[in-house]
Symmetry: C2
Subunit: 209 residues, 2 copies
DNA sequence: ACGAATTAAATTGTATACATTAATAGTGAT
DNA sequence: ATCACTATTAATGTATACAATTTAATTCGT
């Protein structure tokens, strides 16, 4: 997952710790179920426990850590996350259909194109950006923030979806793109719902608990 | 606002700090726009800066504090919060219509009744519980958590709605209750949307920025 | 008197020390 | 061997110390 946060430069110890710890979890360096101890992580990252605690608090907010244990997302949890996502991104797709400009269409088209031609990493990134662009159409920072906070968990599974090459993934993006461009708000919402539901179902098929 | 959090007993300094600070903001003891300084609050609450920092982080997550400034919610911000609320509580009302049992109906009826007969504080509380009960119908901890995190901001305005006695507030609750009891999911969602929209519009009427 | 430059004061971020609590490992009795 | 109990260890929560920033105040030149 690319780092979108704006604190990649200023490298406060807390932000650095957050990113390192998050990436360790997302990469599987810290396997799900593993116990997090502040001291260990602190020496790993090379800072004191104070900024580590802050990082852990952030990651607990993202549900990547639940009382000091690296989360092993269950089927149920994934369903819950996607239910919220469907509501918020469905609404966002509706907004996109109503308010998007020519420039926005171009971005979306570009992400669809990369979805067809890019490398795996590029596809992952394009997938992410496609959804991000639509979410921004809500023009609602609260909503954007909520989706952002679910990104880590989402990432854990979008990897599955992309690397296992879920059928129709990009086709669906393209249809959504066209529907948004045609300003068909109802259909855009509906298609986004179906698209996310398909992502969820595909991911669930590969979950092993 | 009554304290629902489960940490009111164990009184960790951080939780205590969180509650004190939150209540100071909600009561207006710390007026919106006020600058929060860790040291001052620490001596106020009688703990060190460490747990205060944790409390501030939590309150920033709830958007009650934004970079050390007590938030003064703008019209736009309130609209954004309610947009999310409408999506999530609308869905929850739908779930309630589909899954609620006799016992749940009784709770709802009770909160409607208190809405008609109770003192101001009791009405506030009943209003809160009415919505809480419906949100729980989603049976989705992620969703419940998100609403919970918006509670402080919501509270700031539900006070206005109740003390200024918004017309039809309780009537709307009653209609929603009846619709849920009649298992009419579509209408329940629609009525909840309208109800929250009315709350928003009424609140906006008294906002002074 | 006004604004730029410099100094002083306050505030935050991080590290560390200590006290409390939770987890682990022994020990002994049945 | 198993369970209860104690002793040990480790980990967390909180306080404090210090360094790095930020903010406010002061001085100076024009």
């Amino acid at each position: 997952m690319q780092n979108n946060s704006d604190d990649s430069q200023q490298t406060s110890a807390a932000s650095k710790a957050y990113e390192v710890l998050r990436d360790m979890i997302l990469n599987g360096d810290l396997p799900s179920g593993a116990r997090i101890t502040e001291g260990k992580i602190a020496t790993m990252v090379g800072v004191s426990r104070t900024p580590i605690r802050e990082a852990i608090q952030r990651l607990e907010h993202e549900h990547l850590i639940v009382n000091k244990i690296v989360v092993k997302p269950t089927e149920t949890e994934l369903r819950h996350t996607f239910q919220v996502r469907i509501l918020l991104e469905g609404y966002s797709a509706r907004c996109a259909a109503m308010f998007f400009t020519e420039k926005d269409f171009e971005s979306l088209a570009e992400f669809v194109k990369i979805g067809r031609t890019g490398s795996l990493d590029e596809i992952m990134r394009a997938n992410e950006q496609f959804h991000e662009t639509i979410v921004r159409a809500s023009n609602n920072p609260i909503m954007i923030d909520i989706i952002e906070s679910m990104k880590s968990i989402i990432y854990l599974f979008s990897r599955t979806v992309v690397t296992r090459e879920r059928p129709f993934l990009i086709d669906e993006h393209e249809t959504i793109y066209e529907t948004i461009k045609a300003h068909d708000a109802d259909k855009a919402e509906q298609l986004m719902n179906q698209h996310l539901q398909a992502d969820l179902d595909f991911s669930l098929h590969f979950i092993n608990n």
